[in-house]
């Protein structure tokens, strides 16, 4: 296709190896991931018109860590920079919107999360409703388990289905050099494990991961200077539901994912590969259904979020993996999904296409 000046593509993607515990700082991780993606597309950092990161001070426990992280950009002379307290996928979305203004051609989006400093079983309690949820110590695992139990009781899925999601993702992860959790596991072996939050077992929960990733986006014809086969963003949308899962009509489905998918034009053609951010195994089943994916779509060849889950980075990696399917693997149309908030509260859907 001959791109118009409003067409934006992912032209480069770099991720660091996921680690359970790194001894580097977030700034160190940002530096290494951005250096790598800049080298990959073969530009000088001065050619980047806009840089945006996604991270969260609460994860590493360092106030204004996102400011210190900007050391890694080399901001002399001053650069055009922004930050979202969201996954790097939303940083990518901001970079996309920024490029649409038409005055710059190249942008970089980064996601970074040093998750190992804090305890995921308690940390996220502070992000919930402070009047009705936080005083009870309501945690992420509990809210996910309440959703999982509702899914089982609705007859849509079983614990065995959850285990199958885990086994398939861990098996897929074997061929992903950037997977932290991988291997062959039998369903029965998985089902023999104890519950952490009934009906969820440890393997239904995301791993704890320290990681960073970065993408470079380019506008119009400039994309071809940086990438032989750019991954054009042909649809992107982000929808949000009520924060309290109790006031949503039905938590066994994801209305926001369905609406985002419709707005992003997912159904306009076949999806070859989908990279879904399902932090909890069963959420992949809800997402597949709400996205309208059928058996012709390969889901999470990377192993998805169950293979590595650096909060603030994992969503951007879904975007990068889906883009690489076009840039490197010759796929034509792929999908990246990212979620945020309790019980799939917020969902971002991005459709990527290659030239045919």
């Amino acid at each position: 296709m001959a791109p118009s000046e409003n067409d934006i593509a992912i032209v480069g993607f770099a991720q660091l190896p996921p680690e359970r515990r790194t001894n580097l700082t977030e700034s160190d991780l940002v530096l290494r991931s951005t250096r790598e993606v800049i080298a990959q597309v073969g530009i000088d950092k001065s050619e980047i018109g806009f840089t945006v990161s996604g991270s969260c001070d609460y994860l590493s426990g360092q106030g204004f860590s996102f400011v210190q992280n900007t050391d890694a950009y080399g901001m002399v002379p001053a650069i055009n920079e922004s930050h979202v307290e969201m996954d790097g996928a939303w940083a990518m979305y901001e970079a996309y919107v920024r490029l649409l203004q038409g005055d710059i051609d190249i942008a970089m989006a980064v996601g970074v999360g040093k998750n190992s400093n804090s305890d995921p079983s308690t940390l996220f309690t502070v992000e919930f409703d402070p009047y009705y949820l936080t005083p009870l110590g309501t945690d992420t695992w509990t809210l996910a388990a309440l959703q999982a139990r509702a899914l089982i009781d609705s007859g849509k899925a079983t614990e065995r289905d959850f285990a199958e999601v885990v086994a398939r993702n861990r098996s897929n992860a074997k061929s992903n050099p950037f997977a932290q959790v991988k291997g062959d596991f039998s369903i029965d072996e998985l089902l023999a494990a104890d519950y952490v939050r009934n009906p969820l077992r440890r393997h239904d929960l995301p791993p704890t991961t320290d990681q960073a990733a970065a993408v470079i986006l380019a506008r119009g014809k400039r994309a071809y200077d940086l990438c032989e086969r750019p991954a054009w963003i042909t649809g992107i949308d982000h929808r949000i539901e009520a924060h309290l899962p109790t006031v949503r009509k039905d938590i066994t489905t994801s209305v926001s994912t369905r609406l985002a998918a419709e707005a992003a034009g997912v159904g306009k053609g076949p999806i070859d590969v989908a990279e879904l951010h399902a932090p909890f195994s069963f959420q992949e089943l809800i997402l597949r259904d709400s996205l309208g994916l059928d058996a012709s779509t390969e889901v999470n060849p990377s192993g998805g979020a169950l293979a590595a889950h650096s909060v603030m980075t994992v969503g951007l990696i879904r975007v990068g993996e889906a883009a690489n399917q076009i840039i490197k693997n010759g796929k034509n149309r792929t999908l990246a999904h990212t979620t945020s908030g309790p019980c799939l509260q917020q969902n971002l859907v991005c459709v990527l296409e290659g030239d045919q």
Partner: protein
């Protein structure tokens, strides 16, 4: 070899007093009296009440409804090992509980004894703290317990007559987060040098700037720097900037009088170290251009426990502060427009 800390445990604590607004203060004042309420909005009763209808964003209004104290579980989970944030110290359930008289569930704790007692459809009832201990919070309900009598709650669905003025309008919320960070290679390098009485920086091979304390990178060129780029700089420099801090009381604040924190540009360095204390100049006389030199703690009193990844350029307990050298001041305008 000097001892340095490899891991740092720190707690971030935030004591908040949250104002409740009209809807939540009505809920709080009612629950403190042992009455759970909801609000009728958009044709259904939402309990506990929200200020806005989640579907339409319309003001939920004041059509209060008595709900509970019994209700029905719709979905549940089980916590075999409670965390320090959970209100019970033994295994318990969480559930969506639709209270009698309500149309939406609330999330609360079910103290059911065992996992096998939990099921969708189970009838539960609220167990409150003693009236004197209730202060208008959701956890005035200690837990829901299996209902001894499954029949409908008396008075549920009746209108709730809210007082003209609510007794409870604020809620204390104390957050205490625990972190365990580990020292980065750069932090360890910095702490070790300080313990040996040396101040080090890293010299960028590209732009030739010397950055003190080391950052593991050149923040101008955006390239990695490592041990091979380390240079020692003298413990002497010039105040390049300062601020006078008037302390306001907050938890953890030990200062009571105004104090100065200075940026110092060390000789042979290109980046300042910030937040430094000058030991022998009154706050009113602090100025840009003063020559200072480092004052080390005696070797047997040095400790690196405060040198963590967050304290880049800080001397912790190893550098006591800085004192004047008596040399004539440098012209202040030499330090204008410094970026770092």
């Amino acid at each position: 070899m000097a001892d340095t800390v490899q891991e740092f445990v720190f707690n971030l604590t935030f004591p908040f007093s949250r104002t409740l607004g009209s809807t939540l203060s009505t809920f709080s004042s009612a629950i403190a009296q042992g009455q759970i309420i909801g609000v009728r909005t958009g044709g259904r009763v939402i309990a506990p009440p929200l200020e806005y209808d989640p579907d339409t964003a319309a003001d939920s209004g004041t059509d209060w409804v008595c709900v509970g104290p019994k209700g029905t579980v719709s979905t549940w989970t089980w916590v075999p090992e409670p965390t320090n944030l959970h209100p019970l110290d033994h295994a318990f359930g969480f559930a969506f509980i639709t209270l009698d008289g309500a149309d939406t569930p609330m999330i609360h704790i079910v103290d059911a004894g065992s996992e096998s007692a939990m099921s969708a459809g189970m009838r539960v009832e609220a167990k409150f703290k003693a009236p004197a201990d209730c202060d208008g919070r959701i956890d005035d309900i200690i837990a829901f317990i299996p209902a001894s009598d499954p029949s409908p709650s008396e008075g549920a669905g009746e209108p709730f007559d809210a007082p003209a003025e609510n007794e409870i309008t604020e809620m204390d919320a104390f957050s205490d987060l625990r972190y365990v960070d580990n020292a980065s290679p750069t932090t360890i390098m910095w702490a070790k040098a300080l313990m040996e009485g040396r101040i080090i920086g890293q010299k960028c091979p590209q732009c030739a700037r010397t950055i003190v304390g080391p950052r593991g990178m050149c923040s101008v060129c955006a390239i990695e720097l490592d041990e091979s780029h380390v240079v020692e700089v003298p413990g002497r420099g010039v105040i390049s900037n300062f601020t006078i801090v008037t302390p306001t009381p907050y938890p953890g604040q030990t200062e009571t009088e105004p104090f100065a924190r200075c940026s110092i540009l060390l000789d042979d360095a290109d980046a300042v170290i910030a937040q430094q204390e000058i030991l022998d100049v009154p706050v009113s006389e602090i100025r840009v251009g003063i020559h200072v030199e480092v004052v080390w703690a005696p070797e047997n009193e040095r400790s690196a426990v405060d040198i963590d990844n967050r304290s880049r350029g800080s001397g912790g307990d190893i550098i006591v502060g800085w004192r004047t050298t008596g040399e004539p001041d440098e012209p202040a305008d030499r330090y204008l427009d410094r970026m770092m």
